[in-house]
Assembly symmetry: C2
Homo-oligomer: 760 residues x 2
């Protein structure tokens, strides 16, 4: 565990000494190894994620996928010793990637336009740095670029990234804007880039890429706090048609740059300690929109005021949950998880509501905030349910954004995994329907029509060409010989279909209820009684003979093996237990999951999983079994849920750069932490019930958007007292290990009496 430095940022000069929730945020958590979080500056749900990138290695090497690229999903890898620059868009916690737009790097000395290599940083514009001279807090990041003795500071508004560079004395100070840089870059990824030097302080342009998002364009407007003395660019592209542009020397002082491999530079004279600030505004629709965003959000040059405002924005959001805990580390874990949960979905519209739609047409969001970055396979599980409690207005806007996506979809599908006006089709299922069902069932219907949303869900679930869905609809399961990961798909479709049925029932659409409730039982079609596991089935109807319950490769699953995935029937846990041979046998099965010892070979062949992210054979680093620990509640052993949950909280979340047991997955891992630490978890989003677990906090006061307050208390809380003796809600004892959404939103006091003895 990497511990150094984390407490150093606790004392923030010039800001109140009294500790606020924001003081416990450590953006560095998850930046080492596989957390894939980024340490840079952003505001809650902000469009800009301005953060250092430590390398720009290509997605492919010699035409082959380069597995090392995975380390850089968020641009930054804690163990690296060099920084290539600061780019403005990053995903938080993904296991595939894109973005890294508009990389800016300040340098001094001879101009270098290549990033150089980590082994030989002097071969390019990158700089060495040390964590000793680096710090990160919510909305602010600072680092000393050792090779240039330039101190870089970053902060952000929603749509504008602000850089403050403090230079040494130099008549060769440069600011590089490298449009060839990007995350998960490869040869053809840059489709086009365009830069206009509007005047000696204002630059506009765009970057158009084809990657995870196939057809993506992001626009910018960038200003310097002082005029550059000279500028230019290199277009590092062979075979470019120059035409009559040959008239000009385009390399220097030529104000229009266009091409696929543009690296621009701007030169300044700087005195010792002289500062050059840069503001970079983004827009999904135009440079004009970016300029408007710049004017609206960051018209001046008071970097510290913007930093303060970002911090206040964070503190305002975080303070809605006031927690006391057993230690500062617990507070750090909690508030950093809340911080990570609020990094996305991200705002995707200009200040005037303009955004680019999935149809590549510019639209305007009327009366709501349009969001993007929907990693729904991950986030439907706990993040959106969390929003239904803590951010219901935003969650409703996210649903409006999903419905807009649907309206613009030529496939007539709700988003699967969408970002920046694109559907990247990543992972499986159609879990938008879960997010929508969860909101509708919990009464969070605002700004959208529930019946229309239901129609969109049904239509989505019927798009035959999608991922084996035609077979699923015809045969009741996805046959593995027709479509891989067939078990995972069958199980998740069945769950999603149950969600649709719930909404149909609520809205009185018996036709749809009948259609989808029948589909919701399809998990039974892949259950193999002979092994007790869900198992890939062939189009012949037979189970596939070859079957390895530990492997995740070619076994009918994705991001999980049969042990983990076979538990995925959140809609019918009782039936799952019945299939598993009854409560006792099922409890023993779950015990095995959490305690068995896996061979080293398992890890060698499994991407994305290390021993850090696993307890026994329970994989917490991926999502499919996130609800598993709570299933003991149904098998008659809630005390085991309590025990396991506390163990997972302890083992998988640590206040350190390498403190996350797997990708944070756009907040899903953090949302699991938050729910579980508060004492309950949405095992089946789309139902209105939460399973009770074992809170890890001492107390929490949640200010709900409806004006009510929910207080959670855990008297007797300690590291040893992980068991819950009784739970009372407003003095009334809860007679089963569950609480409803209605009860939570009513507010009041939820008391978990903690003990060191399990209640058998």
């Amino acid at each position: 565990m990497i511990r150094f430095l984390l407490s150093a940022v606790l004392v923030i000069p010039g800001i109140s000494a009294a500790q606020q929730p924001v003081d416990f945020v450590r953006p560095m958590i998850g930046t080492a190894r596989m957390g894939h979080t980024y340490p840079g500056a952003t505001v809650p749900f902000g469009m800009v994620q301005l953060s250092p990138d430590t390398d720009t290695i290509p997605y492919e090497m010699n035409g082959q996928y380069n597995p090392d690229v995975y380390k850089f999903c968020a641009g930054y890898q804690y163990s690296d010793a060099t920084i290539t620059g600061f780019s403005h868009t990053h995903f938080s916690g993904t296991g595939h990637s894109d973005l890294g737009d508009f990389l800016i790097m300040p340098t001094t000395g001879p101009l270098q336009l290549n990033p150089g290599t980590a082994a030989h940083p002097e071969s390019g514009y990158r700089s060495r740095f040390s964590h000793d001279r680096e710090s990160a807090e919510a909305g602010y990041y600072k680092v000393m670029l050792d090779d240039y003795q330039v101190q870089a500071e970053l902060t952000a508004t929603n749509r504008v990234g602000l850089h403050r560079y403090t230079f040494p004395a130099s008549d060769q100070s440069h600011i590089i804007l490298d449009l060839t840089a990007g995350i998960y870059n490869y040869a053809n990824k840059n489709v086009w880039t365009f830069v206009r030097v509007e005047n000696d302080t204002l630059i506009t342009g765009y970057r158009q890429t084809s990657g995870w998002a196939r057809t993506r364009t992001l626009y910018f407007a960038m200003t310097f706090s002082k005029p550059f003395k000279k500028y230019g660019h290199r277009n590092d592209e062979n075979n470019v048609y120059k035409g009559f542009y040959r008239k000009f020397d385009q390399t220097a002082d030529f104000p229009e740059m266009a091409g696929r491999r543009i690296t621009a530079w701007f030169d300044f004279d700087t005195k010792a300690g002289g500062q050059v600030q840069v503001k970079m505004a983004l827009s999904p629709v135009s440079t004009e929109g970016a300029l408007r965003n710049l004017q609206a959000e960051a018209p001046g040059w008071d970097f510290d005021a913007v930093r303060r405002k970002a911090r206040e924005a964070w503190n305002g959001e975080l303070s809605k949950v006031q927690v006391t805990a057993l230690s500062d580390d617990d507070l750090i874990n909690f508030y950093t998880a809340l911080y990570h949960a609020y990094l996305g979905p991200t705002t995707y519209m200009d200040v005037d509501g303009a955004y680019r739609g999935l149809d590549q047409v510019n639209h305007r969001a009327e009366g709501y905030t349009n969001y993007t970055t929907f990693s729904l396979w991950d986030t439907y599980r706990a993040l959106h349910p969390l929003f239904n409690i803590l951010q219901p207005a935003r969650n409703a806007d996210m649903i409006r954004s999903m419905l807009a996506h649907y309206d613009q979809s030529v496939h007539k599908m709700l988003p699967v995994w969408s970002h920046h006006a694109n559907e990247n089709w990543c992972m499986i299922g159609y879990h938008s329907v879960s997010v929508i069902a969860d909101a509708i069932m919990k009464g969070n219907i605002r700004g959208y029509d529930a019946m229309q949303a239901l129609e969109a869900c049904a239509q989505t679930a019927r798009y035959k060409k999608y991922d084996g869905l035609e077979y699923y609809m015809k045969m009741g399961y996805v046959p593995e010989d027709k479509n891989s990961s067939s078990v995972s798909k069958t199980l998740e479709y069945a769950y999603d279909d149950w969600c649709i049925a719930q909404v149909a029932q609520k809205l009185g659409r018996k036709d749809l209820y009948d259609e989808f409730i029948a589909r919701s039982r399809n998990y039974r079609n892949v259950f193999d009684p002979s092994t007790g596991f869900m198992r890939p089935r062939l189009s012949s109807g037979a189970f596939r003979p070859a079957f390895d319950v530990l492997s995740t490769h070619g076994q009918g699953y994705i991001e999980g093996n049969a042990w983990n995935y076979s538990l995925y029937v959140p809609q019918y846990p009782d039936d799952l237990i019945a299939l598993g041979g009854g409560k006792k046998r099922f409890t023993a099965h779950l015990d095995s999951l959490f305690t068995m010892h896996l061979p080293d070979a398992f890890f060698a062949e499994t991407e994305d999983i290390t021993r850090d992210g696993i307890i026994g054979n329970y994989v917490h680093g991926n999502e499919p079994a996130h609800h598993a620990a709570y299933l003991y509640n149904w098998s008659g052993a809630p005390w085991k849920t309590q025990e396991r949950v506390r163990m997972i909280l302890e083992k998988m979340y640590k206040p350190a750069p390498d403190g996350l047991g797997g990708n944070d997955d756009c907040g899903q891992m953090s949302a699991w932490y938050l729910f579980s630490a508060l004492g309950f978890y949405p095992v089946c989003p789309g139902s209105t019930e939460y399973a009770l677990g074992s809170p890890a906090i001492k107390s929490a006061v949640i200010r709900l958007e409806n004006g009510r307050t929910l207080t959670i208390e855990a008297p007797g809380q300690s590291r040893a007292n992980v068991y819950v003796k009784t739970v009372t809600l407003n003095g009334r004892k809860l007679d089963r290990p569950a609480i409803s959404h209605g009860e939570i939103m009513q507010g009041g006091k939820l008391v978990f009496q903690m003990t060191n003895r399990p209640s058998h």
Copy 2:
């Protein structure tokens, strides 16, 4: 001369037998050899130019420029035996190219997605055709595609191209949309293309290219008159990142296509004689805009009505000049020239005024039509002056479009050669200022502010980085050792500067007048008294020793040799004559120009010029000496002007596919014809005077936009009577060989008394 077929289209069934001006239009004129006109369907100044392409050869072969591509500047070459398809955008008469967007080809039989080769048309989707089964008229084109027995008919509105395909009986009828096709295509030209199959009759998308226009995107919306039964596409691109799109079989029935090498196909069952119509609407801003244009201009499926409307639009414009002539061939030449003159500049905005600006931002033209396709080095000479008489309102809108370009220009320059939101910088000079000055001096100021226009002109003329302009401003000439084609540039800058000075004087801006009238005399700095020619000068101040007055290569000129270009002082013809040794010597010099015999070597080394386009050493196929024949008026020999003009009209314009002596150059060649045939010519645009020549028509009645009528009569007209005895305006004899713009716009009667005897 290729004569066949041209009269075949004279009789148009179903349309009035009485001959209208539109009946004399032969779109085939100029389609052979170097005319570079296109035969397809368009309306006056229309955004759509829907026309057959006879080949799609690449701009480069093995990394080298492929000179054969030049033949296909307009997509169609009359001598070809195959058609590759029908694309929607074409330049008329250019000597470099781009466009050819959205090529559509109907085929039958096995699906082929490559065009194949001219030598082996069966190797691809192209078809053989014959001029016997082809016809073209204003707004309509028809051809039988012999290989498929599909009859193709084309017509157009301003923004919509309409196709009517009559198929044989086939269950393998295809319509191919090849987004990889284009004019002047090369490996990297397609930046991105995108297609959405919205439903079984509606397709939208765009094509983004980098070519002559460096950063160009054109959007479309396309509908079929009947649903296709199946569709699909091929993406013929290596190394494309597929990501999670791998889930889908994208080749067939997958409704979103994106990439750089997309060829889409749509399948139909057809009965014998069954028709499939296609409408393709264009937009410079979005697919949404294209759909709006489609709805506004071509909502139904009445092809014949659209064809009729296009024909009426043409006839309406052409009929404003009612001409009688010595023969039908003369009428064909005249009205085809007028047709060619009205092919551009082209409309560049949606029906709601939305267009993409040079700054790549979407703008809206408020209260005017925004135009593009400004080939200004050509068209400032006679085309825009022609518009100041025949199309003053449109010309004012063109100026507003140029001023919008200026406002959006990061260089702060008026257009040099602009098309589709791009400046391609083709050719030399800054001749927007001539167009603007000509309009302002002639009082055609509407919808724009003359003073602002003057400022734009002055600012343009001071952009130091442009083409030797910094040297020109400092030294009074462009030094050949610093910037090639230095004499041409110096001469044209000096002329343009004179234009600015005229406007400055008119608007009372003495500062600007002084600045630019001084510059207007810079032609003197490249006059070499020892040879009597303009001659390249070095930065040392010395003339360059090596000097070949016939060559056009590396001699300080572009598209003209010293003989032709040395005459280019339209602003001061008297001084030019004085430099040339006085009137007598100058007349003799002009005589030599028109009569000398050039060696064969001249043609071998000179691109763009054949003996067809030249009289003696006078090159009419290129523009620099277009005013030369009129200079006799100043040297005391107007009768020689009359004689030469009639000879040029006769030799350079013939009613045949190969009837044009050079590129029509976006209407400049045709505008020369029109002016000269009417009896006068704007030797120096920016002045308000026209030089009188020798009319070739018998009479002309011009309905002016101001409601007045100008009647031109040429009593005594005959092939032999090329000399003008007297000219009277409203009975008053004109005492010098000139007429003013004011006199023309007053209307009345201009009578040229023709004779076979020169008036010495």
